[in-house]
Every structure is written in structure tokens, then in C-alpha cells.
């Protein structure tokens, strides 16, 4: 038994903010033993902050789009799976999600996830631009067929849940439609984004998948994009829905540049739609590679880029486009501000997951916790841009408790991962210990200790133990009646066997890396 003694435990899931002890046994948080002094190992955490290991909601960890980014970054320092795992573990994040697994590339995605060290992973399978789903909706095969198809997809791709990125829009882009709004119809199917979203939300709910539909709405980054996000909220009609990368839908069309912050509208709509959760990924300035499973948006982005990858898959596809976010650029300044505004305006931390590249997250936490740090950055940005934002007027500062909520408790709850993001008895002993500092960026960049499954993996910036975590998946009950329809469909259209991309329970010569997450009942 390990004792973490006398730290300040910040555990919003269990309503705790108190000085106390934590006990670890067999990789889990254990009840205090009769004699705490008998613990085999004890860490004195007086003056330290103790949180559950972080849960990164929207990672961009693996798969063909990560490969494309790697190729384009060859002259810089391309990321490796080893680097990804280390970067998360080093800041105390112990679970990360690949939010856009492309079913046809499920095997490679899982092979890569399996090679990411230290942390637990999971993938959300992308649907909503694939011929099978569009056909099932358009030809009115009914809810049971759609449920069956989603269940089948989860099984084949060993995913935790279902995601959609620009639903209908990536399919329509193959028919040369460059923009796709919520009521627009995919040519050849007569199916709108609304119908796709409604079908997926309902089916995910009926299957009881641990996370709600993880939706990246249509028409991101555009002026007026907030309207699409609100349309999606309304389409959910009270059922659980998660809107991913919500900062890309926080834009209005006001001002001389026709591009402004609309985060107040979004935040107000979210306050009303309590069934909707979001993740927000405020950005940093500097070089970046935009990674997405939305080929339409990636092509739009490619204008002016020196090099870029865009590809059309059977469903989504995607691409990678390197660029640079500049402090002197009006639009970039608005984009930066909107990401932070949304976090500051959403007053229910349980429905907000803060998500960012691990290298950026500590800086973003500092901006959320420290209005002076924000003001310093605002002062460097174009004044006309800041005039079209709310950020300069917002003085809210996140508490450590709220940070623990939006980086741990809320993302775990939104994903349906009951055993983590919290420090209750029986929870997975994923724990991050930070030394309290005035400089929150420095504090969250360098935890004193990180435990994964009760094992000390990082101490004062040094790796103490290398390990490979599990890949979390759901196993919904599906009827399996869709198999014969799919077999005919895939043979006729693609000349392949349905499920030719299936991921086995264990890869060749290896033990199974999967951990099962119970479905909601």
C-alpha cells in the first residue's frame, strides 16, 4: 500500500477540497487502512496539490491524419507515439482520446495507440459521411438498422464511442460542394446534416455507448459558425450530445472585417441546453499543423499554404495543413480570444472539457486562472480585433478546483469513464501531484509526481517507470442483422468484404491491450 500524505486533495467528482491522505493498493484508490503508518511507501505531500490524472478529450493521437502531419513536419521534429505518451504523462494527463478514428484505418490507428506509452487511450469511430449510414437514413431502413450498424462499427473498430466531423459535408465535398450547412442535403442521398446528427444522437443513446455523440459541427471557423452549433444543440432535443472543438464555432460576422466573437451566444445557448457538453481547445500563437478528418475544411485551409495533404476516404478522409498563428493577424487574434472566452463564459464546469495539445495546456490553464496573464497577451494583439471580442472585459479566474473539474472530472464523466477523473475509493489510481506556484503555466507543466494505475511514472520531470496502458473500448449489444446487408453493400460498391478493416482482440504475438468500459443502462 502507498500513502500520499497530507496533500490538498482537489476532487470535484467527490466534492472534495481538503487536506488529507490518499491510499493506493493494487492500482486503485483504497480505503484508509486501520493503521495508515503501516503503508509500505509514503510520500509527504504537505503543501502540494493532488488531482486525479488528467483526461484529454480530443487528442489527434493516431491514424492517417497523424501520419500526414508527421510527413509534413519531417524537417522540424516530427512527433512519435513515444513522444505523445511522454508529453501527456509529463504534465499529469493519464488518459487521452483519439476523437476521429476512420473505420477503414482502424487497424493502424489501434496499432499506433497501442504503441503510445504510459497513458490509457480510446478512440471514437467516425461516421456520418460514409455511404452506408447515409443510405440507411436516406432509404429509411429505420432505427434498428442504424443501431445495428453503429454497434457493428464499434465492434469492428474497437472504439469507445461514435464521432462525426462535418457530417454530410465531407461526402458533399466529394460532389464539389465547398460549404455545407446544417439543413443542406448530401447530393445523391437526400439526407441533411440535421438528419445525420439526429440519427446518430438517437442511436448512440439507444445503444447506451459510454460517451454521447462527439460532434464537430459543419462549417467550422467561418463567420456565423455559432449558428450551426446552436442548430445542432436544438437538434439534440434534450438527448445527450457533445460538441467538440467548440471554439471553432464561436464566430460572428460583425465588424469591419466581418469576423467577430460570438462566444456569448454560444455560452447562452449552452446554459439553456443542459444536455449538451463541449470541449474547448484554446490555441497558442506560433507554428502549428492543423490536423482534421474534414477534407473540405482542410482544402479550404490549404489556400496559400506551401504544402498540405488532403484526402478523400470512403467516409471522412481529412488532411494536414501547416501554418502559423500570428499575434498580428486579426482573425488569429479573434480565434485565440474566442477559445478562452468560451471557457470563461460557460459557468457549468461539468459540461466543459478543456482540451489542448499537452505542450499548450499549461499555458492555457494559466490564462484561465490569471486575468493579468491574459491582459499581457491582449496588449500585444491588434486593437480592432480585441474590440470585437469579450475577452478584455472578462475578469473571471478559474480556481484550482475548477481546473480539476475541466481537465479531469468533467471529461471523464462526459466520456462515461466512471473509474477515472476522480479520486474516490475504487477509482483507478491515476494521480498527479503539483507543487503550488504563482506561475500556473510552470506549475501545470511540471508535476512533482504522476502515478498511473498506482505506479509512479514521473517524478520531478523524470520518467521513473515506462509502461504501456490500455485502450478503452465499449462493447454494446448489437443484433448483428446488418451484416448481410453490409456484405452486399461493400461488395457491390467497394469490391471488398465488409469488415475487412476489423481490429482483432489482440494483435499478432501480443496480449490484448483492450479494457472494457460498461455501456450506460
Amino acid at each position: 500500500m502507498i500513502r500520499l500524505k497530507g496533500g490538498r486533495i482537489l476532487d470535484p467528482a467527490n466534492g472534495r477540497d481538503e487536506i488529507g491522505d490518499l491510499f493506493i493498493e493494487a492500482g486503485r484508490i483504497a480505503a484508509p487502512p486501520p493503521d495508515p503508518e503501516a503503508a509500505a511507501r509514503s510520500y509527504d505531500l504537505a503543501g502540494k496539490i493532488v488531482m486525479a490524472g488528467g483526461v484529454a478529450m480530443h487528442g489527434g493521437l493516431a491514424g492517417p491524419n497523424a501520419n500526414a502531419a508527421r510527413a509534413l513536419m519531417r524537417d522540424a521534429a516530427p512527433g512519435t507515439v513515444g513522444g505523445i505518451g511522454l508529453a501527456y504523462a509529463a504534465i499529469g494527463m493519464t488518459t487521452a482520446i483519439e476523437p476521429a478514428l476512420i473505420p477503414e484505418h482502424a487497424v493502424e490507428t489501434h496499432l499506433q495507440l497501442g504503441d503510445i506509452p504510459f497513458i490509457d487511450k480510446a478512440a471514437l469511430a467516425l461516421l456520418g459521411n460514409d455511404d452506408a449510414l447515409l443510405r440507411l437514413i436516406g432509404e429509411q431502413h429505420g432505427e434498428r438498422a442504424i443501431d445495428d450498424f453503429l454497434g457493428w462499427t464499434i465492434g469492428q473498430t474497437q472504439a469507445l464511442g461514435i464521432a462525426a466531423v462535418n457530417p454530410g459535408g465531407a461526402a458533399a465535398f466529394k460532389d464539389n460542394l465547398r460549404a455545407f450547412a446544417f439543413e443542406d442535403v448530401v447530393p445523391g442521398y437526400g439526407v441533411s446534416a440535421r438528419q445525420i446528427v439526429e440519427a446518430l444522437i438517437g442511436s448512440v443513446q439507444r445503444l447506451g455507448l459510454p460517451p454521447a455523440l462527439h460532434l464537430e459541427c459543419n462549417n467550422p471557423d467561418r463567420p456565423g459558425s455559432f449558428v450551426t452549433a446552436i442548430e445542432a444543440m436544438e437538434a439534440a432535443a434534450g438527448l445527450p450530445l457533445h460538441l467538440a472543438q467548440i471554439q471553432r464555432h464561436g464566430f460572428g460576422a460583425e465588424g469591419a472585417e466581418g469576423f467577430s466573437s460570438a462566444s456569448a451566444f454560444l455560452a447562452e445557448a449552452l446554459a439553456y441546453h443542459k444536455n449538451v457538453s463541449v470541449d474547448a481547445g484554446p490555441m497558442l500563437f506560433g507554428a502549428r499543423v492543423a490536423l482534421s478528418a474534414d477534407p473540405a475544411r482542410q482544402f479550404e485551409r490549404s489556400a496559400g499554404a506551401g504544402k498540405w495533404v488532403v484526402w478523400d476516404g470512403e467516409g471522412n478522409g481529412g488532411g494536414a495543413v501547416p501554418d502559423r498563428a500570428s499575434e498580428t493577424d486579426y482573425r488569429h487574434a479573434i480565434q485565440w480570444a474566442v477559445g478562452l472566452e468560451l471557457c470563461l463564459l460557460i459557468d457549468d464546469p461539468w459540461r466543459l472539457a478543456l482540451t489542448a495539445d499537452p505542450a499548450a495546456l499549461p499555458q492555457i490553464i494559466q490564462w484561465l486562472m490569471d486575468a493579468d496573464a491574459r491582459a499581457e497577451c491582449i496588449a500585444r494583439l491588434p486593437k480592432p480585433a480585441m474590440a470585437m471580442c469579450l475577452l478584455p472585459k472578462l475578469d473571471r479566474e478559474f480556481s484550482l478546483y475548477e481546473i480539476a473539474a475541466v481537465t479531469r472530472a468533467a471529461p471523464a464523466r462526459i466520456l462515461g469513464l466512471a473509474d477515472r477523473g476522480q479520486l474516490g475509493i475504487g477509482a483507478v489510481a491515476d494521480i498527479a501531484v503539483y507543487g503550488e506556484q504563482a506561475d500556473k503555466a510552470a506549475m501545470f507543466a511540471a508535476p512533482d509526481y504522476v502515478f498511473k494505475d498506482g505506479e509512479l511514472i514521473v517524478e520531478a520531470g523524470k520518467v521513473k517507470a515506462s509502461r504501456v496502458g490500455r485502450t478503452l473500448r465499449a462493447r454494446p449489444v448489437a443484433q448483428g442483422q446488418i451484416a448481410s446487408w453490409l456484405a452486399q453493400h461493400d461488395e457491390a460498391l467497394y469490391g471488398r468484404a465488409a469488415g475487412s478493416f476489423a481490429v482483432p482482440d489482440a494483435f499478432a504475438g501480443a496480449e490484448s491491450c483492450f479494457g472494457d468500459v460498461p455501456c450506460r443502462t
Binding site: R70, E104, D175, D312, G495
Partner: protein, 366 residues
């Protein structure tokens, strides 16, 4: 499956120990060959990292050129399945596409997604060379053209698409009207696909083709479909990508991977005498190194390879997907797939052999 030390039959244990001894005693070992499955590639990279070796499983200059194009210019492409289902206009470039089973699958399909009203696909073939007539039954229009003039041909095609006419006398074995004809067909296509084999084109020609397709996408939709079939090298490039950040050719002398296609060219390393031990890994086919060399040689491949001289160590292994479950690159889907063995033999896998060598290195260094 045999294990040999020189000409003599040996136990797996002694072969693994001897391989480890050779590699431990080398200053720079070269790992090369025709590649492996995912587990084999992963084990080979771990071994290379451990011994500070050089890795070249990208011996095909055409694939290197495609890698370079991707890194320096990017790419716009689609998948075989989507091309089959959607391309109402298909342009084939060069003779190499005819060897691709994947392309035949694309041609067999009806583009139901491009033409629900039943319109047919137009397939054009530029510079088919000796491969003309090898894809009968698909209604392909053979435009002829001289592959050795491909740079000029693609330049004129790019010009025609932007509305500039070709010279009156034609070019590269093609009549002047052909350039406008091809460009016009792709401009009016709903979804055009341009298929080529990297083996037929150099870097400059591939870049011209990319420019052509990028420009088409300003007004309509089009994508490239590179045709490549080599499971072992493609698998290796993918695994190397996610583990090291780079495709081969890489070196691990400094610990961290160093990507340098010139420096870690297997042939150059051998001819210049820079490496002093050779590990040949060829999991999908029984093949021997093409070089005449006196370097100590470790070979890991299926039974049946013919050697000029017996390797110091030969470890025969099960063929991935055939004799052992494995994950590897599928030409048909252009993605990694997991394949159950058709007839599992329980024979040693490449990954097991390489891990066995690595384990013995770890033991001997303690």
C-alpha cells in the same frame, strides 16, 4: 523451417546467440531487405536502436521520391475503394499501373456514387508503353504517348488545363488536341482520379502531376491514386513513421533517429565499406541480398532463398498472414490490415527471431 549457421543445421537458440554476437561486435550494422509485417518492423527498429544501426527498408528510389513529395509539397489523394465507387473519369499514367491488382479492382467497379443516373466511367491511359492491351475489357482509351517525354507531356497537360494550347506539331507522340481533350475531360468530370505507379515517374513528374490535380480542385474534384504494392516495405515505412517520426532510411548512431536517404542508402553503405555487418529481413518472400559482399550476414526470411554463399546465420520464418497471424499493408485497401493465418504452422515469426536476438544482446551486456 530451417535454422543454419553457415552450411550447418543449427538450433534456434544457437542461431540467435550467434546473430547477437555478430551484431554486438559490429561498429555499424545495416538492417535492410524487403521488409516485414508490423511486429517484425517494430522488432527490427528496436534492435536497430539498441545497436545504433542503420536501417534501409526504402530501397526503391520511386517510393523515396513519393515520400519526398509528400514531405515537401504534400499530396491530394483518395482510396482505391472510393476511386472505384466514385471516379467517373480515370486517367492512368504509365505502364506500371497494369501490374496492380488494386487498380484492376478499381476498374471493375461501377462509379455508382458519381453517376446514380447510370452514366459510365471514362478511362484514359497515357503512356501505357508495352503494357497497352494488358487491361482488356475495361473500355480504356489508349492515348499512347512516350513515357520518356513525360515531363513535357505533363507540362503541356498543366498548360492545357489553364487554357494554353499545345504546340501545333504535338509532343511526346501525342497529337496537339489530346492535351486539351484530357484536360477537358477531367475539368468536366465530377470526380477525376489520376492513377500512377511511382516506379514510372521521377520526383519532378510526380510533382507536375500533383500540381495538375491541385489545380483541378480549384473548380472540380480530383485526386491522385498512387499505385504501390509492396507489403513489406510499405508496412515498414508506416511503423517507422509512428515509432521514429520518419520512414526509412534512418540511422540510430546518435541514439535518436536520423533521417538521411543518401547516407543510409544500403547500397552506398555496403559499397563504401561503412557498415561491417548485414541483417537481411524479408518476411514476405524468400530473397537474398543483391550484393556480393564478404560482410557477416544474418538472414531472416521464409524458406527457399538462394544464396551465393551461405549466410553466417539463416533463420527461416513463417510468412505473415499465410503461416502466422499478422498485421501488414494491404495493396487492395492501401491501409494496414489484420490477417488471420490461412494455414498456421506455429513456425518462428520474424518478430520472434528479432526479439530473440535483442534479448540475447540485453543478456550479454549485463
Amino acid at each position: 523451417m530451417a535454422v543454419r549457421l553457415g552450411k550447418a543445421q543449427a538450433t534456434a537458440e544457437s542461431a540467435l546467440a550467434e546473430a547477437a554476437r555478430i551484431l554486438a561486435g559490429s561498429r555499424l550494422a545495416l538492417l535492410t531487405g524487403t521488409g516485414s509485417d508490423v511486429a517484425g518492423a517494430r522488432a527490427a527498429l528496436r534492435l536497430a536502436e539498441r545497436i545504433g544501426g542503420a536501417v534501409d527498408f526504402r530501397r526503391d528510389p520511386a517510393l523515396l521520391a513519393l515520400d519526398a513529395l509528400m514531405a515537401e509539397r504534400g499530396l491530394i489523394f483518395t482510396t482505391p475503394a472510393e476511386a472505384r465507387a466514385r471516379a467517373d473519369s480515370l486517367l492512368l499514367i504509365g505502364p506500371g499501373v497494369a501490374r496492380s491488382a488494386m487498380l484492376a479492382q478499381v476498374l471493375k467497379g461501377t462509379p455508382l456514387l458519381a453517376a446514380p443516373d447510370g452514366a459510365e466511367r471514362t478511362t484514359l491511359w497515357l503512356c501505357p508503353g508495352s503494357a497497352a492491351d494488358t487491361l482488356p475489357g475495361f473500355g480504356i482509351q489508349d492515348y499512347g504517348g512516350d513515357l520518356s517525354a513525360i515531363h513535357g507531356i505533363l507540362a503541356l497537360l498543366n498548360a492545357a488545363m489553364r487554357g494554353h494550347p499545345a504546340p501545333g506539331q504535338g509532343f511526346g507522340g501525342l497529337a496537339p488536341g489530346i492535351f486539351e481533350d484530357i484536360a477537358g475531360r477531367l475539368i468536366t468530370a465530377r470526380y477525376g482520379v489520376v492513377a500512377f505507379s511511382p516506379a514510372d515517374l521521377d520526383a519532378l513528374a510526380m510533382e507536375a502531376l500533383l500540381s495538375f490535380v491541385q489545380a483541378l480542385n480549384q473548380t472540380t474534384r480530383a485526386a491522385l491514386l498512387p499505385v504501390s504494392s509492396d507489403a513489406g516495405t510499405q508496412t515498414f515505412a508506416h511503423v517507422s513513421g509512428w515509432l521514429t517520426g520518419f520512414p526509412p532510411r534512418t540511422g540510430f548512431m546518435a541514439g535518436a533517429p536520423d533521417y538521411d536517404p543518401w547516407r543510409f542508402d544500403a547500397t552506398r553503405l555496403i559499397e563504401c565499406g561503412e557498415c561491417d555487418a548485414l541483417l537481411w529481413l524479408s518476411s514476405f518472400e524468400a530473397s537474398a541480398p543483391p550484393w556480393r559482399t564478404k560482410l557477416p550476414l544474418i538472414v531472416i526470411c521464409p524458406p527457399g532463398a538462394q544464396f551465393v554463399r551461405p549466410p553466417e546465420v539463416l533463420i527461416e520464418t513463417a510468412i505473415p498472414g499465410n503461416e502466422a497471424d499478422a498485421e501488414f499493408w494491404s495493396e487492395a485497401s492501401q491501409s494496414l490490415v489484420a490477417v488471420k493465418a490461412a494455414g498456421p504452422t506455429g513456425g518462428l515469426t520474424a518478430a520472434a527471431a528479432l526479439t530473440g536476438i535483442l534479448d540475447r544482446l540485453e543478456t550479454s551486456s549485463r
